[in-house]
Point group: C2
Chain length 191, copies 2
């Protein structure tokens, strides 16, 4: 490794080095206490470079866990745009992320780390800070935050049984079958 | 420790020694491959002693995780006796177990071990082998096993967010409030 002297101009590896620094920062500090400035400093780049590649801290996090979709946009949209289909769309987004090997490995790694250290995983900070609050804003009625978290709890439990415990028949069930079963139950929390 | 020469008669510590041997066996072998005979041998007692104290392997497991209720009886009963109240009763049983510090610590320890080793926790074998199959028998309609597991997934996810991630407001919510919210959703899986 070459020594770094302050901010550098972009090169082919810059994006990857930012991602490596971001993953380390999210793992060490959690989502809330990680800053774009801190990641920039650790990666030896100007913060503007991070904004150029990833937009906001949310975008940086999404990329650092190889998320195939920006959940901080997609989940609130799934709830707000057409509430009658919200449950199904949320469930489908969930499987779109978890059925991909790369984000699944990243998310399982975070959960494992959380279990070992007793610290909440960075994804929890991202989900509460950047996703659930906005989801709740699109909902109506009482106890919106709590209902949004109950949706998250159900999906997290499905991930555990399907991808970690590998309990049958849930582990081998077709994702679309699960979407059809889980969607209507999630729907009753959301609307 | 005194050397053990074959089966012994009961004494004040026998029950505890059986429990210690059972915990070690369940952790090492998982629920399915643990036998009453094996635990008896490890504890230096006659298998009849285990049956005397704990009844079946299910009862031994229940005691080994300090479960305040025999879930292999109580959960199928909660579903079968009065189906119209099944969801609420299942949710209430869940909190009766998890709100107690001793079983909560035992269950969290199992989940942690599972995350670190990649092996399913013994409780998963107990739940699939001794609980969910019987719950599904009391249900009607299609996909009963899958629906029973989706109930389990929701409750497991609630446990994770409430007791491990400690996400607010779910972590501080009154258990009875959660029972009232989760019960009806579970109900739609069960009936």
């Amino acid at each position: 490794m070459t020594a770094r002297r302050g901010p550098r101009s972009g090169d082919g590896d810059t994006r990857q080095e930012i991602l490596d620094a971001a993953r380390a920062a999210f793992a060490e500090l959690g989502y809330d206490r990680t800053t774009v400035r801190g990641v920039a400093s650790a990666a030896g780049v100007d913060p503007a470079m991070i904004h150029h590649y990833f937009g906001t801290k949310q975008g940086l996090f999404t990329a650092s866990v190889a998320m195939p979709v920006a959940l901080d946009q997609a989940l609130p949209d799934a709830v707000g745009v057409d509430p009658s289909k919200a449950g199904e769309r949320v469930a489908r987004l969930f499987f779109r992320v978890w059925e991909e090997p790369e984000p699944r490995a990243a998310l399982l790694g975070q959960l494992r780390h959380s279990f070992v250290t007793g610290e909440p995983p960075p994804i929890a900070g991202f989900i509460t800070g950047a996703v659930l609050g906005r989801v709740a804003e699109r909902m109506t009625g009482r106890d919106r935050e709590l209902r949004a978290e109950l949706v998250a709890s159900h999906l997290l439990g499905v991930a555990l049984l399907r991808y970690i415990v590998r309990m049958e028949p849930i582990a081998s069930a077709d994702p679309e079958t699960l979407v059809e079963m889980i969607g209507p139950r999630i729907q009753t929390y959301l609307t």
